[in-house]
């Protein structure tokens, strides 16, 4: 085995990209603050600016492709269609255009822009967080903060089980097809194919838990000792802490300002 490969595990884990190397909890904190700030500011220019900012950050973090493969769906469905629906049906006084139940007004266009900017900004923050944070790093940080390792297991195992069951589902479907079950045709034929696939899938998965629990106990899953880690993450730098804290304070000030304005 290569000496460099082993040496890698003696150092804290870094990927070389300053955005991706931020501490997972800092990223979570930034996601919440930046993603929710448009709800406080309530200005669609700010909201769209945030959405644009997230796209730029994804490019800087080198994950634009995987980020945008999810984000374009939100942009199309909620950036475009939600705006149309809002613009056509929201109540308003100054009518621009009217046909049957559709009433496009100044107010409805602005309410459409507002809601679209909120949805885009929040979705952008959420997808960006997921795409820049590997789940094992996130659960590692949670455990460092004292969360039980059972939570880590549930989170990581869920993703693994989804892949496994997805493959199982394909195998079962092929077998049932070989047995003569129609998976194409009209809705009722396709609906009839659902049960013979999902039934064995669930029962198989459930009956495998017993073996799995024995296997995990044999590997000291529930041993009441302090855990060690193969991989460690660097401690957050002072600069990182200051940036996160600064943004947190700005967010709280904005929130207080919004509440004061709302009460007056």
């Amino acid at each position: 085995m290569d000496y460099g490969f082993i040496e890698k595990y003696n150092q804290p884990w870094t990927s070389g990209n300053p955005i991706r190397d931020l501490n997972p909890l800092s990223k979570l904190n930034l996601m919440i603050v930046l993603g929710l700030s448009p709800f406080v500011v309530q200005n669609y220019v700010y909201g769209f600016g945030m959405a644009l900012l997230f796209i730029i950050i994804s490019i800087l973090a080198g994950c634009f492709r995987s980020f945008f493969s999810l984000y374009w769906k939100v942009l199309l469905l909620f950036g475009f269609f939600l705006f149309l629906v809002k613009a056509a049906f929201s109540p308003g006084e100054h009518v621009i255009f009217q046909i049957w139940g559709i009433r496009v007004t100044y107010e409805s266009i602005f309410s459409g822009l507002n809601i679209v900017s909120l949805v885009l900004a929040f979705s952008g923050a959420f997808i960006l967080f997921v795409k820049t944070t590997p789940m094992d790093e996130f659960t590692y940080m949670l455990e460092q903060k004292g969360v039980s390792h059972v939570v880590s297991f549930i989170i990581l195992s869920s993703f693994q089980t989804i892949t496994d069951l997805g493959q199982n589902a394909k195998i079962i479907m092929e077998s049932q097809k070989a047995r003569g079950i129609e998976t194409e045709g009209n809705v009722f034929q396709r609906a009839k194919a659902y049960l013979p696939v999902i039934g064995p899938l669930i029962l198989n998965a459930i009956s495998s838990t017993e073996e799995k629990s024995i296997a995990m106990d044999a590997r000291a899953f529930s041993a009441p000792v302090k855990h060690t880690y193969l991989m460690e993450l660097p401690k957050p730098s002072i600069k990182e802490k200051i940036i996160v804290l600064g943004l947190d304070i700005i967010f709280v000030l904005l929130l207080i300002g919004r509440i004061v304005l709302w009460l007056l």
């Binding site: 999810l70 769906k73 939100v74 469905l77 909620f78 269609f81 939600l82 629906v85 809002k86 056509a88 049906f89 929201s90 049957w100 139940g101 559709i102 809601i115 949805v119 929040f122 979705s123 959420f126 997808i127 997921v130 039980s148 059972v150 939570v151 297991f153 549930i154 989170i155 869920s158 993703f159 693994q160 089980t161 989804i162 496994d164 069951l165 997805g166 589902a169 479907m173 998976t183 809705v187 396709r190 609906a191 194919a193 659902y194 049960l195 696939v197 999902i198 039934g199 899938l201 669930i202 029962l203 998965a205 459930i206 009956s207 838990t209 017993e210 799995k212 629990s213 106990d217 529930s222």
Partner: protein
């Protein structure tokens, strides 16, 4: 809340499976081009077998994972969590013991989830959910309906189909799980008949 002391080992291992069944069940419905979601089967199964807390965790996990591909689904996570509680409740009332009860469950659950989904859809997204149901909503609103009734009608029609099929699947799955396994689970007592 979660540690090995209050949850039995089997419950801990069933939670990821519940989440995965939700997600894969939904993917399967998409693959077969069915007009329903079928993405809460795992929540009901785990809620019924293991109690409300594991059911709620499955609903939460599934909601978060679904939100990764479409973050606008995040507000509906609360409904998924409620399904875990409902699964436990129905198991306690013995509502998974006969086929006709599955239909009744489906009607009840569909009505409850519609009542919770409508305010989210109507207020947050103006009746637009980004699925086929949006076509019904926009058609009704073009015909002069208000946002709330239009959303209610479209949600109820899809939810009814979705939840009745889901509950039938849940009923058949729960019936098929061997008794020697069920007896080890926290809610096992509600599914087994005592032999005298």
């Amino acid at each position: 809340m979660i540690n090995s002391k209050n949850f039995t080992k089997l419950t801990i291992f069933l939670i990821p499976i519940g989440i995965a069944v939700n997600v894969v069940g939904g993917q399967l419905a998409v693959l077969l081009k069915l007009p329903v979601f079928l993405d809460a089967i795992g929540t009901f199964v785990v809620g019924a077998l293991c109690g409300w807390a594991p059911g709620v965790i499955v609903g939460l996990g599934c909601g978060l994972i679904n939100a990764i591909s479409l973050p606008t689904l995040l507000p509906y996570t609360i409904i998924g969590m409620l399904f875990g509680v409902l699964g436990n409740f129905l198991a306690k009332k013995g509502m998974f013991s006969a086929f006709w009860k599955a239909i009744v469950n489906g009607l009840g659950v569909a009505f409850i989830s519609t009542c919770m989904a409508v305010p989210i859809t109507a207020i947050l997204y103006g009746g637009f959910v980004g699925t086929g149901a949006s076509v019904i909503v926009t058609t009704l609103m073009t015909a002069g309906w208000g946002v709330l009734p239009a959303t209610f009608v479209s949600e109820l029609s899809t939810e009814l189909m979705d939840k009745i099929i889901s509950m039938i699947v849940v009923f058949l799955v729960l019936k098929a799980i061997p008794a020697r396994f069920v007896v080890k689970l926290p809610n096992g007592k509600y599914f087994l008949k005592e032999e005298k």
